[in-house]
Every structure is written in C-alpha cells, then in structure tokens.
C-alpha cells in the first residue's frame, strides 16, 4: 500500500479541474433503476444487469478519483501548514538576499590580482 502510494505520487501532477468527482448523478441513476418496477421480466433482467454495470462504474470512478487526488500538487499539508512553509521559504530567501548583499558590500576595495 505504501509503495503503491509512493508510486502514484511520482506520476505527473494534474490540476484540480481534471479530477472527476461527479458521483451524484450515477448514484441517482442506480437508485432509480433499482426502485423502478418492471412488469416485463426481460426488461427487469436487462435493467438489473445495467444497474450492476453502473455500480461497477461508480466503483471505478471512485478509484479513479482517489488516484487523481494523489496526483494533485501541494496538498501534502493543510493550508495553515502550507502557508507556514511559504513564510519560512520567504524568510529564507530574504535572509539569503541579505547575506549576499552583505558579501557584496564587504569587498569595497579593488583586487587587481587573480
């Protein structure tokens, strides 16, 4: 399980818009076809087969959505932690810029030798 999740994380990241989470229509269709009464036995059998296919499809969609969510970038942490990390990075960058500036201002004399 751990290896599997690691493997999926290495796949190319996708955007949120690509994730398919429209489960309600298919749930509705399944329930409707279950509750529908058929007088014709052949129609009932066909509907039942159709229904089981839809259940399988729902399962498949749920699995696909799970794998797609694992490929979404930047959701390893919740938003607060992510913002904290963002701040840390910004502070790091600021400090490094200051350090560089310090280094550059330090050598105000000319060095003619190599």
């Amino acid at each position: 399980m751990e290896n599997n999740s690691d493997h999926t994380e290495h796949l190319s990241p996708i955007s949120v818009q690509e994730v398919d989470v429209d489960f309600l229509p298919i749930v509705y269709e399944i329930i409707r076809s279950v509750e529908r009464d058929f007088h014709d036995t052949t129609a009932k059998a066909r509907e039942s087969q159709d229904c089981s296919l839809k259940v399988l499809e729902l399962q498949k969609r749920l699995d696909i959505a799970r794998s797609q969510i694992k490929r979404l970038p930047g959701i390893e942490f919740n938003k607060q932690d992510q913002l904290k990390q963002f701040d840390i990075l910004q502070t790091q960058l600021r400090l490094k810029r200051e350090l560089l500036q310090k280094y550059r201002n330090m050598c105000s004399f000319e060095t003619s030798f190599k």
Binding site: V16, G74, I75
Partner: protein
C-alpha cells in the same frame, strides 16, 4: 473535520465517506420492503451524501488554492536554490581572496624582516663594488673578453681541476678496490695530500688538453687548491647547466 489532517487525506476521507453512503443507499434500495429505512432516515442519508459532496467540492477548491500556493513555493524554492549557489560562489571567492592575502602578508612580513635586518647591518656600496672586483679578478664569474682556446683563465674548472676534485676521486676509487665507508674517510682521501705520482693515475684518460694544461701545471694546481670547495660546487652546477656557473659563483 480535524484540521491537522492534510488536504489530501481529507479529500480521500470524503471520497471514502461518499462511497460508504452510496453503498448504504444502494443496499437500502435493494433490500426487501420490511428492512427498508423510513423516509426521514432515507432523507437524512441523502442529505448526508449531498453535504459530503458539497464538502468534497469545497475541499477541491481549497486544493486548487493550495496548488497555486505550491506553484509560488516552487518558484521561491528555485530562487532560494539560485541564491544558495550565488552564496557558495561568493564564499569560494572570498576563501580564495583570503588565501592570496595570507600568502602576500606572509611574503610582506618576510620582506619587512629582511629590510629590518639590512638596516641593522648596512653594507656600503663601495665595499660591494670592491668585493665584486675581487670575485671577477680571478675570472671566477666570467672569462676575460680576450679568452682563446687554451687560456686557463675561465670561470669553470679545468680538466685537471675536475680530476683533482672530489668527483674525479670518486670515479677513481673503485679501480683501486677500495671504497670509503664513511664520509670522514672520503674527506680524508679527497683533502689529504695529493701524492706526486697522483697525476700519473690520470693517464687512463688521456686527452690532448691534459698535456696542454700540464705545461702550466703549478699555477693551475695552486688555483684549484685554493678554491677547492667552490670548484666542487661548480662541477655540480656545470654538470647540469653551464650557464648557471656564474650565478652560483656570485652567491
């Protein structure tokens, strides 16, 4: 929903919930009429499914925001890496500069020390010139301008002087079946009195020049004896580079 969970875990948990509720609803729909849920329960289940779906959509929006933040973070990380490289580069340059400065400081200190030393014991230029004259008077630095082949006045030792020197003696020793075991013995052999018949030993290397220099033998031998040590030094230097003999003499 616990806020410490990551957004990914929250999304996956919501999908699990939706799956569970949908399964429950389908099972209830399939179940015989006696086991069916009451209408309010069913409505509650449906409400729950709808709220979970809404939650999922909301969390996906949050994920979208986080993806944008992540993109900014990636840019920041790239910039931080860039700065890191710059810092390393500058640090290396500073280290180099420190090394160069340390070397030049050391050399400057040495120079200052020698300046102080020379100020303590100044040498008048006249004395230096006198000394230079004295060195060049014996043609130890350079041959006279009017030098011709056969003229014994030359800055490097003559053939005879070479053979009287330590190197000539060394090559002679194995012939006598006697090798010096210690340095003292070697010293005794080389500096000890040269027997009158010593020149006869050199007949194994006959050359025209030997006969020629034998003519002015006395003066040459006296010269060679008086500056025995410098002559040996010359031999060492001249064996590799004859042009450096003058510089080694002047030191």
């Amino acid at each position: 929903m616990a806020s410490h969970l990551s957004t990914r875990d929250r999304l996956l948990a919501l999908i699990d919930d939706i799956e569970l509720i949908a399964k429950e609803m389908i099972e209830v729909a399939i179940a015989p009429k006696a086991q069916k849920l009451s209408a309010p329960d069913h409505a509650q289940l449906t409400e729950l499914l709808l709220s979970k779906d809404a939650d999922l959509k909301k969390t996906l929006e949050l994920a979208d925001e986080q993806a944008k933040i992540q993109q900014k973070m990636n840019e920041l990380k790239a910039e931080v890496d860039n700065k890191d490289q710059d810092i390393h580069h500058l640090q290396r340059q500073l280290k180099d500069a420190e090394q160069i400065l340390a070397t030049s400081l050391y050399q400057a200190r040495q120079k200052l020390a020698s300046i102080v030393k020379s100020r303590k014991r100044p040498v008048p230029s006249e004395e230096l010139i006198k000394f230079a004259h004295r060195i060049s008077a014996s043609n130890a630095v350079s041959a006279p301008l009017s030098w011709q082949p056969g003229d014994p006045r030359r800055p490097y030792p003559t053939d005879l002087e070479m053979r009287l020197g330590m190197l000539g003696r060394l090559s002679d020793l194995p012939l006598n079946g006697h090798t010096p075991s210690t340095l003292n013995e070697l010293h005794r052999i080389t500096t000890g009195g040269v027997p009158a018949s010593a020149t006869n030993q050199f007949t194994w290397h006959p050359s025209g020049e030997l006969h020629m220099s034998m003519g002015g033998g006395n003066s040459v031998q006296i010269d060679g004896r008086s500056k025995d040590a410098p002559a040996q030094e010359d031999v060492e230097v001249m064996s590799t580079d004859s042009s450096s003999s003058s510089s080694s003499d002047s030191q």
